[in-house]
Symmetry: C2
Subunit: 222 residues, 2 copies
């Protein structure tokens, strides 16, 4: 399952669970995208934070894992490289690539798009009411699945934090706490986190603590 | 916040959190409805189970509580009785009654509807794309709030359990485990649970254990 996961939310987790059930998959590997410094004119949260939030969100599910593959690969992330790597690691496996249906049309503009369809079956998850333009997409090798919980969006979660609103129940409790602890999505802490991430480690808690919620508030519903 | 909560899901919890934030409320009291043996031509799960699932779902949030008021009141549940009782218990409080927007029009057919509007401000939460018919509803004293996570529905959660599909991430983990432990929403266990509930206690685990998932499966994402 590929995505930015900025942050990972219950819609992603419901989708993974639903696809695993519908397609009888053994496992779902979450693959957070690598560095995309600017996406849709906004700064993307450092990969290490997105990776760790996804680890926290999936920790209790023995059939969900998270891969560092794309975040550790230098340069721009291409799905084709990820699928080739997974095919090499899991030679006998049938691969399914799950992602947001709105991202699927972009796949055709990626390099070696033709080979993609031979490597995996593609599954686009959509929120209710969202219609996908299938123009240019192949007739086979692609499934679409409507998942009501995908009405939850990462964009909305980030906007809520910026506005000082709660994200409880939109994301798992551990992710609420991770966001508060590291001051993610708050304009005033972006620079501190960037510096910390460039060193390849989690954000420096000593310098971000002043913007985090007090422990009591972090630990329980606000 | 009134509702059947059969079962309580993340959409309810997001709604309560969102309304608490938007209207600067001090507390949200979840009030599961009393016995409604038949609703929309289906059997409603015994009140005790719905009450306890709501307790489990809200336990970690210090500003969420659950009231037994409606489930302990004999006869049909009327919102007017609940609001009068809350007004008596909390004489200085400004009351807000939160419920699904689709339920609001029914309020007008309840007894003493005119008095309702003097007791509380009503807030209807809607899923995206749902339009409310305001015919017959007053111009003031009523707010509508669109909550994307309300795309999650209790009906869908029940149907998934009937079909043997997972409800992980649609409802809190503790509620997933509660449903499995008591065999809720599985046709073959309905009678056992009904008998247990009529005794006013939680379902008899000894007789429902055979239909519950094994402990390992219950404890982690399936």
């Amino acid at each position: 399952m590929g995505g930015t996961f900025d942050p990972v939310h219950h819609g992603h987790l419901v989708s993974a669970s639903e696809v695993m059930e519908s397609f009888s998959l053994d496992e779902v590997i979450f693959v957070p995208t690598g560095e995309q410094p600017f996406k849709e004119h906004r700064r993307v949260t450092p990969a290490e934070h997105r990776y760790l939030m996804t680890v926290v969100a999936t920790a209790s599910n023995p059939r969900f894992t998270v891969s560092r593959m794309e975040i550790d690969r230098p340069g721009k992330s291409y799905t084709i490289d990820t699928l080739r790597e997974l095919k090499r690691q899991l030679p006998g496996a049938d691969l399914f690539f799950i992602t947001g249906a709105d991202v699927l049309p972009q796949i055709l503009t990626w390099k070696d798009a033709d080979e993609l369809w031979s490597l995996a079956h593609f599954i686009g998850v959509t929120r209710p009411g969202h219609t996908l333009d299938r123009t240019g997409l192949p007739e086979t090798g692609l499934s679409l699945l409507e998942v009501p919980a995908m009405a939850i969006s990462s964009t909305d979660c980030r906007a809520r934090v910026v506005d000082g609103k709660p994200v409880w129940y939109l994301v798992p409790d551990g992710v609420v706490q991770y966001i508060a602890k590291h001051g993610l999505y708050r304009p005033e802490t972006a620079r501190v986190d960037d510096v910390a991430e460039r060193r390849g480690r989690a954000a420096n808690e000593g310098t971000t603590a002043r913007t985090a919620l007090p422990p009591r508030a972090v630990g329980a519903g606000q």
